[in-house]
């Protein structure tokens, strides 16, 4: 299906396909939003380009997806907004099941700090060069990643300690 892009998004897609011919994998639209899929190694470079050249100064969210496929199981999605042009763009990166690792974009947008910690906490995706890389919701010694598909809905019994049900008296 042909892309229906307005002027500013057309500029973005044209700029990306000129400057990052090898790194750009796919451009598509769904539910009125525009998605750009890129290779994992180029994420910081492309994010910086989008911020500096196309004014996507607002990083709304970074989140993960467990696609549950045999190849490229995990996905990291950056939700970008340009307040000046009033445009939204989703940038996607696919990562393998074994050792999913990607460079942090905290140098581009400082707000990525907690989003990336959340993505790590829920999916186990490692972000390199992150200034404060640790879990954000779950206990630090928790051994699982709850949003992965194989994780049971009710959790692993005994994996998070409950207080003792007997009083602490002599």
């Amino acid at each position: 299906m042909a892309l229906q892009l307005n002027e500013s998004l057309q500029n973005v897609v044209d700029g990306l396909s000129e400057s990052f011919t090898d790194e750009l994998i796919d451009v598509y639209q769904s539910s009125g939003d525009t998605f750009v899929r890129i290779i994992a190694d180029a994420n910081v470079e492309i994010c910086r380009y989008l911020k500096e050249e196309h004014h996507f100064i607002y990083l709304v969210d970074v989140f993960g997806t467990d696609r549950f496929t045999s190849q490229d199981r995990f996905e990291v999605i950056y939700n970008l907004v340009s307040l000046r042009d009033q445009q939204r763009l989703f940038v996607k990166v696919w990562l393998p099941e074994e050792n999913p690792e990607i460079e942090s974009v905290t140098d581009v947008w400082a707000s990525a700090n907690w989003y990336e910690r959340q993505t790590y906490d829920m999916f186990g995706i490692q972000f390199t060069n992150h200034p404060d890389f640790r879990r954000i919701y779950m206990p630090e010694d928790f051994e699982y990643f709850p949003m992965r598909k194989e994780f049971p809905l009710l959790g692993i019994p005994g994996s998070i300690p409950l207080p003792s049900s007997t009083p602490d008296t002599k």
Binding site: P139, L153, L154, G155, L162, P163
Partner: protein, 160 residues
Amino acid sequence: MGLESALGDGYMTSKVDSLVNWARSNAAWPMPMGLACCAIEMMAFAGPKYDASRFGSEVMRFSPRQSDVMIVAGWVNYKMAHAIRRIWDQMPDPKWCIAMGACASTGGMHRCYGVVQGCDNFLPVDAYVSGCPPRPDALLHALMKIQDKIRTEHSVKLDT
């Protein structure tokens, strides 16, 4: 105060158990453990319309050392469970616990890895209140059940 004139001269007999239980059951001060939307209904329970002071329970004590009944109002996650247990351990005996609402009783709609599936996993609960959230009347009913329970307890410890 009027009671003396109604009784006239003389005396009455009773058991220590009955006297102590009568006093305790009409002065069950709640520890409001408000964790979610149930806490709003718990405020209505203490407010003028439903008026928990009719049952001697209007004194919401935010200090666990002055309270008798813990009302767990809302869903309990694993992190909060340790704080609740600690507050419960600080409450002086005798003490009672009400699990208010579906979440505190069973986990309710929060059927997931982060929420304790019922606060009876780590607390001895005396009364469960159904509802999501329960009406203040239902909480009053639970309080009356706690009062019934207090009145049937042995308040004076026997040497065994």
